[in-house]
Symmetry: C2
Subunit: 264 residues, 2 copies
């Protein structure tokens, strides 16, 4: 069994993230699932798991006893025996965790240039992810959507009309520029990277949140939606993962379906 073999040669990876939602933790899960890497999704696997998440973001914490700094927000990644002096390593911030795992799991391109492009495209996709969140929370994360709905309607209009085409057009051009090697299936080089899984998930979330807008626009980006999107979805064991109960449904997280924010 490949999973048994990997369990022996790879360090135990532990994802610390809120349970029950895809959220930003999903970008980390996809890196593991795409490479069939064993990992513990702590807060989803036991009720007490949430305590480990709360511990790394404790507003009084100055770090843990292994010398790791506190995390500003989830997700965090804990890796046994990979920190200083063989202690536990704890990393936070989605792009940083992905950069680390990209190296470990072979999802970071073939050389230094590709490694940095993979990180760059990932950061751009995560910017789009943040802007998608801000469509329903343009004023304050701590307020309810209903208390900032007027502003959300304006923000979502700009997001749909100006930001979505700007980002989609960019990723289409990246795929086009890399078409000889990537065949429209990969953003960088000739194999899957964490930039691909990250862009894929953001597109998937946008399809959920803005179905009418996406339906109207997809045809304008033939590589992105005609080749890249279905290809990543079926890559290796990802299709199986996406149909499993490890893939959490969208609900009240980053991607929310409010019909009034979609194209009318």
């Amino acid at each position: 069994m490949s999973s048994t073999k990997k369990a022996r040669t790879q360090p135990p990876y532990e994802l610390l993230y809120w349970p029950g939602i895809p959220g930003r933790g999903e970008f980390i899960r996809l890196a593991f699932e795409a490479t069939e890497t064993p990992y513990t999704d702590t807060a989803n696997e036991s009720k007490a798991g949430i305590n480990a998440v709360l511990s790394v973001i404790d507003a009084k914490s100055t770090g843990d006893s292994d010398g790791n700094p506190p995390a500003f927000a989830p997700p965090a990644l804990r890796v046994s025996r990979e920190g200083k002096d063989g202690k536990h390593l704890v990393l936070y911030q989605t792009p940083c965790i992905l950069a680390y795992l990209g190296d470990q799991l072979g999802l970071a391109g073939d050389d230094e240039a590709e490694k940095h492009w993979v990180l760059s495209h990932t950061l751009t996709a995560l910017d789009l992810n943040n802007e998608a969140h801000d469509t329903h929370h343009p004023i304050a994360s701590q307020l309810y959507y209903e208390d900032q709905k007027e502003e959300a309607l304006k923000k979502a209009k700009d997001f749909r009309e100006a930001r979505i085409p700007k980002f989609f057009g960019y990723f289409e051009r990246v795929l086009k520029g890399n078409e000889e090697k990537g065949q429209g299936k990969y953003l960088v080089g000739d194999k899957l990277s964490y930039a691909d899984t990250t862009v894929w998930h953001v597109l998937n979330g946008l399809k959920f949140a803005f179905p009418k807008e996406l339906e109207a626009r997809e045809k304008d980006y033939p590589l992105l939606f005609g080749t890249f999107y279905p290809s990543v979805q079926k890559h290796g064991r990802l299709e199986e993962y996406l149909a499993s109960d490890r893939r959490k449904p969208y609900s009240m997280g980053i991607f929310r379906h409010y019909p009034e924010l979609d194209r009318q």
Copy 2:
């Protein structure tokens, strides 16, 4: 002369960013200036320099003839002969450029764990930077401030009352947790990293944009404002740089001083 020596042993670094403002380019400039590394600030050094910036973000570009992808937005970094097959390397996205330069210029900590923490804290500081921008543009980057002023007043209130203390408290705790090694002067380990220069610039920008809010709050974060901030400002040649005309004044960029958005 150390600059002559470095000019021979380091590749020519070229920053591609809008002229006349600090903006996101400033995080890259500070990495160069803190290490006395020669670099070309293309659009600030000649009138024609802006064309190089416009070229990497051209909305029709699928990449350049050296195999580099297009950039989504400035800043970009061009490094001669460090790309594929000895061609030019072009990187974009501020955190990615800093991660690359951090390795090259000795600003990325002492080991793998520190390297990732430096990146994480930088990403958190850049999140704060983005939120500061959104206080005056909560609805759309392409609209004037005056056309979203009502929303900006609400957004700025939440930013000042909820977000600023959350971020400042976090960085204070990171400094506290690293105090034995860093003496309050460094976020990670016992020497300057690009996380320090990045956090410093965001604090400097907030002091400009929200002077009353910062004055009221600084005393609550003694390491951050009593030790860290003045220490980074005087690190090596940074003080000289900050007094030079290479340091551009804040104007209509990320950090803007609108008195009505500050504490009343």
